[in-house]
Symmetry: C3
Subunit: 343 residues, 3 copies
């Protein structure tokens, strides 16, 4: 697909400086873009690339300094770039409209309008699927599950019985929602399974990465609040609650009954012990181990997790430790000498 | 479902103190229970909630102090609560009895009595499936696999060729059993695949969490002994052996040929290097890195894992390190002064 | 299957010392081998087992010292052992030749010669599948995917739209290739999804372990170069590149846009932050956290990752820290005394 720069300016509500008849075929990052592509500068540290980029045009902000390069001035070049991203890459029709003949849908399930259901999908008794939701091949949905509208369940997702999924949710391939919580009653050396009879609630606008596991509650609900974004391979244990718009990177694990506040940012491979509360707006660095409650807006890091300034101070001191050992040995020698002199 | 407290007392073999005609509609945790629900007190630290809980009745032990609240005295209130949990939440009929028409079962496979097999299940040549086992939709079973009785394979489990699964086993969704071990013969910079021709043996009463991966042995068998409980997203490499009734939390990884004893307790996100032996009854704290043999009944923690007391002592010293640096600098200044004075 | 030792010698191009008429029924590791089995000695530290092994014969090198045990001398005993491994364990015919009737293959897809496609496989529009490739049951392939020749996709693998898989590739069960990268544009507390319109390229001879997740690029491609071997449960984020013949152990995570060189060796549960470059031939120890560029051939370890010698020195110093605190307290007492004496 080729379109003129004039047309692009129209799409992003911008103004061309230079030849607006040039044809644009796609998008690229400023260092990698090729002739025929358009790129953008949002972060000032990339300004230096404006002269060397091979891109045929660059999206820049209204107050960007004058340059010889052909540019499109627009209010927010990054947002404009995202708009063009959608324009040049319209979503592929991944599966056909309608319900594939090989899907196995219980007769009691209620399927909304314009739902797409792929080959081999299984939907259990009394399920409700909202309008325009897309269910890719290989998805298995147990009985009494509710899925909202405009939601996407990628291939091989599993929703166990009675879980509730909101609107505009994206569950990537291999996500398991509603597997049993890890709960056992110990009797001597034996462990007896505690029935896990709670559910999982995933609210609107949540996105969950590939192969994450979200366990059902023992009693009550495991809850993932509106707008939460989880990366891949994350473990969410029974009765956990994650607050609105919290973002968590890959391979992090949250133990049972822990509650994470809203607007938090959690790095990858972090571990949270069970039964703690992590405040709103908290930031936790990658690979940290969080073993106690964290106050709101705290920035924690390390194993065990500590306030970031403390962690950095300790780490800096740590690097001086081999040297410190030498210094103390020297002091001991000097003092022995002084003591002898003072006898 | 509503039943009278008198009936509940009968179910748990207990005695009511208070009005035994009140109707109970369900269960709750003591802090969260609502009127109409019954709760329990097992741990003395929850005794204080007896006066404030909104629950209509509380399961307590025979020797619990007299209270004004309506209680049911019973030998073990926690066990009684689990009994009621099963009573109020009978398992949903997740899939229909019988074998779904869309399942693809090789004609040589032997399927036991009262087995349930869901839509789209694939079962290979010469498999044997025990009585009353439930196989949910999307499960794929390779040739020559043996699965015991009363076992549950949740949706999208994969059992590769020749693995052996015992009785009363639960494999949660997305579990992969029998994938190739990670074994290569190096030749210069190239790695040649070593055929992984061993198997996996999972004994009776094992439960394995969602999306765990259990690799087959190179030669011989990867073995998970009776009563082992694995949480989600755990990696078990080729030729590993895990002893009876050992419990392991989520996202832990066990490298090739390592042997973990029985009755051990392992936290989440722990890593074990290969070719080590971890004794019976060992406890390993979350996120630890275990790089050598551990003696029986040891309690280890940290990265690298150390005896817990040593780890705590070192961690306490670590927190004093920035202060220690200052103290040593002060000592150096004082000694320089003393040395000058002693010239 | 039983064959004579003479026949075995022929297979591995070796010479028998001892009775070449004995019958061999299989293979074993030297400590575990049983009568009737053959074993091998490659590593000199296993030489001591030659007298005690129960194996009926042992593969040894040409320059192995003379022994009374029946041996087969051959140039490379380990390679010979691998040859016999393949001989005694010919691969099971896991699925039938041809395409299973229940597979759902878009009419526009091009399927090569001698391809095997299992039950319930779904293949989207305009896909191309190379000759002799095997696709196990439950695999879902989105539109416009290219898969090379002699490649194996194990049960329940998902390939999202437009990804490219090379020749002789093995993807183990539950692998997800081409899930969306974790990319959001923040606006206040909200996160807006950035369309992930790039692809994934997996080159020839790559093996990827069970339940790994390989995200598609935001723009451009996530690239896994020829000969890379990934263990289970590894996370590869958007726009990552992994160089030729690099080997990575289980549960490691690589954040967005990070580039790992060729011939590197990475332990299990390692985390790499985003946007860094890790040089060719680097070794990174298990559970390390890599937060900055690493030079070629470096050996790093720890959290945060440091050159291995520095990490060991610091760890050794760390163990002396509780003792150091005592020594400094003693010094302070002595100096106080000296200062008093010097007044």
């Amino acid at each position: 697909m080729n379109i003129s720069l004039a047309k692009i300016a129209e799409l992003v509500n911008g103004n061309v400086e230079g030849d607006d008849s040039i044809q644009i075929s796609g998008l690229g990052k400023i260092e990698q873009a090729q002739p025929g592509q358009i790129t953008f500068i949002s972060n000032p540290k990339y300004q230096k690339f404006i002269e060397t980029t091979k891109a045929s045009a660059v999206l820049v902000s209204q107050d960007f300094p004058p340059v010889s390069k052909t540019v499109v001035r627009t209010e927010n070049p990054y947002v404009a770039f995202l708009q063009l991203l959608k324009f040049f890459h319209p979503p592929l029709e991944m599966i056909e409209p309608g319900i594939h003949a090989s899907a196995v849908i219980d007769s009691t399930a209620k399927i909304g309008d314009q739902v797409r259901i792929g080959a081999g999908v299984v939907i259990g008794k009394n399920c409700v699927i909202g309008d325009r939701t897309i269910i890719y091949p290989g998805v298995v949905i147990g009985p009494e599950v509710a899925v909202g509208s405009n939601t996407v369940l990628h291939a091989n997702v599993v929703l166990r019985e009675q879980v509730k999924i909101g609107n505009n949710v994206i569950l990537h391939s291999g996500v398991i929602v509603g597997s049993d919580g890890f709960g056992f009653a110990r009797e001597g050396v034996l462990y007896h399974k505690i029935p896990q009879v709670g559910i999982v609630i995933i609210e609107d606008d949540v996105e969950i990465g590939a192969n994450c596991t979200i366990d059902r509650a023992t009693l009550g609900a495991t809850i993932i609040r509106q707008g939460v974004k989880l990366d891949n391979l994350i473990q969410v244990a029974h009765n956990v609650e994650i607050g609105e718009n919290t973002v968590i990177a890959a391979q992090t694990g949250i133990s049972g009954s822990t509650k994470i506040g809203k607007n938090a940012i959690v790095g990858g491979q972090v571990g949270f012990v069970g039964h703690i509360e992590v405040g709103d707006g908290v930031t936790v660095g990658a690979q940290s181990g969080v073993s106690k409650n964290l106050p709101p807006n705290a920035v924690y890091f390390g194993y065990p997790a500590k306030p970031i300034m403390q962690a950095k101070r300790e780490e800096a001191a740590f690097r001086r430790l081999p040297d410190l050992l030498k210094r103390v040995s020297e002091l001991e020698a000097k003092i022995a000498k002084l003591e002898k002199a003072n006898l």
